[in-house]
Structures are given as C-alpha cells and as structure tokens.
Amino acid sequence: MQPNVVSLVSIGRHPQSGRARRAEQDGRGVELGLKLAGEKLSVLHVGNPEEPVLRQYVGMGLPAMTVLKQDETADAVPALSDYLQQEKIDIVLTGVRSESGESSGMVPYLLAEKLGWPVVARVADIVSIKDGVAEVLLALPRGQRRSVTVKLPFIASVDNAAAPARQSAFGPGQRARMESVNTHGEVDQIRVNWQEAPAKPRPKRLKTVKAKTAADRFKAATAKPQGGSGKVMKNESAAEKAKAIFDLLIEENVIR
C-alpha cells in the first residue's frame, strides 16, 4: 500500500543572498515524500501561487502541486488544518523550521494539536510503513539516530540529516500545474506588533575571570590573550607532539 503523503513547503531564503529559494528542509521533506509515495505525493503551500520558487519544488518531478491562496500576512495554520482535515492523509511532512518569517518551527505542532495526531520531530528517514505503523529514524547530534515507531496518521518534521533534495529540473517545474485553492486567511494579529530588524551579530561570550584572590586577579589581568595563530611544534619528541594532539582531542571532547 502506498501511503497518502503530503509535504508542506514554504519559501526558503538563501543565507548569503537573502533571496527566495527552495527551503533546505522542505526540499528534503519533498524528497522523503517522493521516496514514500512517488509521484502521488501531494505538495502543499500556503501563500501566493504565482511565487516562482514553487516551481523549484515541482521541478523535483511532480506533475502538480496545491497552493492554498492566502495573503502573506495571514496565518498559515488554520488554512492548512482545514485543508488537511478534508483529505484522507497518512503522513504530513514539514521542515523543522522555516527559513523565512518567524521560523518558530511551530507549524507541525500546531497542526498536530488541531488534528489530534502525533508529531515526530527531526526525522532523518522513514524506514518502513507496515500495517499502519511507521518506523521512523530521528536525527540526533553527531550523526546518531534513534528509532521510533508511530501509528499513522502522523506529522513529521524533517531534519537536515534526511536525504538531500534531488535537483530541481527547469522543464517539469515550468510545466507542472499549480492548483490554487482560495482560502480566507486571518491576519496574524500578534505578529503585527512585532518589530523586525536585520539580525545583529551576537557577541561571543567573553571569559570573565572571577578571581578568588588578588593574585589571581592580577594574573588574569596581565595574562596574554590565548588564541591567535596556531601553535606549531617542531623540535619536540614524537611522543610530546602526540600528547599535545591528544590533549586537544580530550579538551574538545571528541575522545570518549
């Protein structure tokens, strides 16, 4: 049985240029969806159906996608949950966090709450679906994975550790159908009062020295700053050199 899968996609933002793009995690979500449902995958976006970036999602080999037409200032969740309630769906895939807007990562949770479905966060892969139960791999730091099973239907947010999105092809992307559905969005009232500004670089926390004695204080005051250019060991014995490397590995906590 092929499951009914919906991948939710948003308009991404390139971290360097700030330009709209296929969002990294949403792309992976579509990729995972294609793996599970093939061409029958539904791709869903809330917003402007004319947005050219959407072509990059369908360019991954989909004949069509659905756009719930809605103003940009409106909240996407009501429209989404209304729509998802109508269809018979097994799995909804989203990114962990969008690249534009609030980037709160709340969409999967809010949908899950509204639909009463379980939500699985940071999915690296959906390994199998058997008898209405899916085996899911969750991404943990450092390439570690946790295996979890969950009953259909559920919502999963797709992590960066999932298989990368395949290349988007220009031709199919241009030819795919955009099925636009009119929805009445509610303006996001809370957000209206927010102020937005380009992100300020966060100052790195300085190591403040809390000296216990005056001597410590003075030492801290006069110590040469660490860092700068790297340390080069030339004339020490091989054992000493190895020890220096080993100490660094321990200090960095990569040796356990």
Binding site: R13, P15, G18, R97, E99, S100, E102, S103, S104, M106, Y109, A112, P118, R122, P141, R142, G143, Q144, R145, R146, S147, V148, V150, K151, F154, A161, P198, A199, K200, R202, P203, L206, T208, V209, K210, K212, T213, A214, A215, D216, R217, K219, A221, T222, G230, K231, V232, M233, E236, A238, K241, A242, I245, F246, L248, L249, E252, V254, I255, R256
Partner: protein, 415 residues
C-alpha cells in the same frame, strides 16, 4: 604553570598613579568588556571586586595595589568556598525551567537558562522561585549551585529516554499546579525545543523561539533562518538560545523538592525503539564531529585505518588519496568532495590546497600533522606538529589505548 606570584613593579606603580595614562587600563583590566543579554555594553557590578575566600564579596578599592600585599603563595585557591544561600520562602510566582539534562547532568545551556530565570525573577514584582523540571535518572549533584530554588524530579520509568508525550503530560500537570509565570526551555536539538513546542501547542500559547535577549518585558528572538531579530513582548513560553543569560555562580539555592501527584500517563503514540548503533566510520562525513583525514603524506594505510578506529574518528581524505585509490570517493573532503563541519579536523599529510580548504571552512579546530612546516594546512591549523605521519600516529594510538585501559580499570575499581 607556576604558582609563584611575581610582582610587576611597573604595573603596580601605574596602578597607584592615577594620573598615569595607562592607569585606567591597568586598574580596570580585570573587568574586560561585558555585554549583557540586552546587547548593551555593561559594567558588571558583580565584577567590581571579587568573592573573597570566605565567600563574601570584596571590592578592591586599591585597584590592584593589593597585589603587593600578597607576597607569598597561599593555598586559598584550594579552599572550599561556601556561597551565600538564596532562600525563597513563600514564592508569589514561579518560573519553570525544563533543562535538557544531557547525560543526566545540567548542560552549560541549561545553566545559562537557570541564570536567566533568576534575572527575570528579580525584575518581576513579588518573590519568584525558579523551578527546574527534570525527567529520568539524574546524575546532577549541584542543583543548588545552578540556581534551582525548587526541583521537580520525575524519575518514573515512563519519562526515561525518549518520551516527549509522557513529559508533556507531566508539564501540563505542573502548569495546572503551579501556573508558572514563564516556561523556559533550551532551544536545542536535545529535546528542549521539541518539548517546548509541544507544550506551547497544547496550551495554545505563542512561544518565542530562538530567543537570545530576554527581559521580563521584551524578548528579542531570531527569525527568518537567523537573519532577522524580532523584538516582541516576552511571552509565557520561551525557547532560548545558548548564552542567553549568565549562569548562577555567586549564590546557593535551596533546590527544595516539589511533588507533583496524580499524573496519569497514557500509552504513547511514539514508541521508542532505542538508539541505533552508529559506527563512527559509517557516519556521513558532513555530520561527523571528529574527522581523521589522510592525504598524500600517508604511506602506511593499514596504520591509518587502525588509528581512525582506535581514536573513534570518521575517516576523510584529500583528492590525491582518493585518486590514488587508497580511499573511496565518498570520503573526499573539499571543493569537489564533501564540505565538512567537524569540530576537530585532524589532517595528516595534507598540504592544504585551496580546493581542500574550501571543504573544511566550517571546522572549528584544525590539527595538522605534516613534514612541511611551511604548508598551508599548518597556517590554517590551531595546532600543528611537524613530523612524520607514521611516527606520530603510532604515538597517538599508544596514548588512546592507554587511556582506554585506564578508564576500564577505573570502572572495574568502582565496581
């Protein structure tokens, strides 16, 4: 380092001489530049002076001249200091922190948030208590020093491991029992942001995520993929980035237990099947945190592979090593290979061609083993050792083996 304190008469003289052009820099040198969570440059009043050996704050009005008085080495540094106890008797409100407790201990991130919770408490009217909610087995011995006024420890087996649903049920109970003013979660991949989002969705609260400048009134959080700062009213639920506050270090706290009763956890929809056994050599290069990378300067390949296994490192390679057939293609690091993000990148016999360097741009610490002290990899590395790769790898393996043995013995001692 030597513990002998050496006097610097010139410095002392400058410190005494208020008219000396360098006086300020010497007198205030201890303080450094401190930025508060609000991003403003602040003089940290706590840093004026220091905590004396008896745990009391002492302001050194001699501006460093006192050094002169401490002529001989003291063992003061080794003395256990007893910090003043911060007591909250009848709290008017609670701020609840749900730490990640990686490995059963409070992480640095957790402690920052506890610190922030106290900063918030102090600016809200009434007396507040900071509550920590900990799930599963706890190895933490110092809740008191991290700023935990009240502790809710839920150690039942249903909270153990991966149990977001059970934990959420517990949190909703706590919500009903304590009606906390704020819920603070670490915005982390260790479960904090997941649990926080679940609670927010359940309670119908609009949380602030990726928050990094928080006061009881205003919150600045990152948006749009980290490219935007959104300033908003501080909501009830916050998920906080690292270094959002200063960890507590000058007070002790009661860490009184609060009991939460009557939580009934239903059968979870998500069934934990446990951690997968992931072999370091099977971790995709892009995700690996410690890479041992081989270049044209490796001549003993058996040894190299063995070293990677013993050190528990993921293997990488330069293009030459791949071209020559010693390493598979998917191990290539660089412009035409993988761009890696390892915390430690140990480059053995790699010269550091631009195309290779492109691939390690995001690595934290690069360590080079190379015979050529002038090569570009050495210029990039935080630590370089100049010498034959085979020899140094052999020594490294000895060290790693010795350490393994040591820790095994330790374990058997403890048993």
């Amino acid at each position: 380092m030597s513990d002998i304190i050496r006097r610097d008469p010139r410095r002392e003289w400058i410190a005494r001489n208020r008219l000396h052009p360098l006086h300020d820099s010497v007198a205030n040198a201890v303080q450094g530049e401190v930025r508060g969570p609000s991003g403003l440059l602040r003089k940290n009043p706590h840093q004026v002076g220091s905590i004396g050996p008896n745990g009391l704050k002492r302001i050194d009005r001699l501006k460093g001249n006192a050094v002169a008085g401490v002529g001989n080495k003291r063992s003061a540094a080794n003395q256990e200091t007893v910090l003043p106890l911060h007591k909250v008797d009848n709290p008017d409100f609670y701020i609840v922190v749900v730490p990640d407790m990686i490995g059963g201990r409070l992480s640095g991130h957790d402690k920052d948030i506890l610190g922030l919770a106290h900063t918030m408490t102090s600016t809200i009217e009434g007396t507040g208590a900071v509550v920590a909610v900990c799930f599963g087995e706890s190895k933490e011995a110092h809740y008191d020093l991290a700023g935990v006024d009240r502790l809710i420890h839920l150690s039942a087996s249903e909270y153990e491991g991966f149990a977001p649903e059970a934990r959420l049920t517990a949190l909703t109970h706590i919500e009903a029992q304590l009606a906390p003013k704020h819920w603070l979660f670490p915005d982390s991949i260790h479960g904090g942001s997941d649990l926080g989002s679940r609670l927010a969705a359940r309670l119908g609260e609009r949380p602030a995520t990726q928050a990094w400048q928080v006061s009881s009134e205003k919150t600045v959080c990152r948006g749009a993929g980290g490219s935007l700062d959104i300033t908003r009213q501080t909501p009830r639920i916050l998920m906080l980035l690292e270094e959002c506050g200063e960890a507590i270090d000058e007070t002790r706290h009661e860490a009184l237990a609060i009991e939460v009763d009557g939580i009934s956890v239903s059968e979870p929809a998500l069934q934990d099947k446990g951690l997968m056994d992931v072999d370091p050599s099977a971790i995709p290069l892009a995700e690996a945190e410690f890479i041992l990378s081989a270049g044209n300067g490796i001549h003993n390949w058996d040894q190299f592979h063995k070293a990677a296994t013993i050190l528990g490192a993921t293997e990488g390679a330069s293009r030459v090593a791949v071209d020559d057939g010693f390493m598979p293609r998917f191990r290539q690091v660089g412009a035409t290979g993988t761009w890696v993000t390892a915390r430690v990148y140990l480059a053995v016999g790699i010269s550091g061609a631009i195309q290779h360097m492109q691939g390690i741009g995001q690595c934290d610490k690069v360590v080079a083993i190379n015979t050529d002290a002038g090569c570009d990899m050495v210029k990039r590395a935080a630590l370089s050792v100049i010498g034959d790769s085979e020899e140094i790898l052999a020594e490294l393996m000895l060290l790693a083996q010795a350490r393994k043995k040591g820790s095994q013995e330790e374990q058997s001692d403890a048993a």
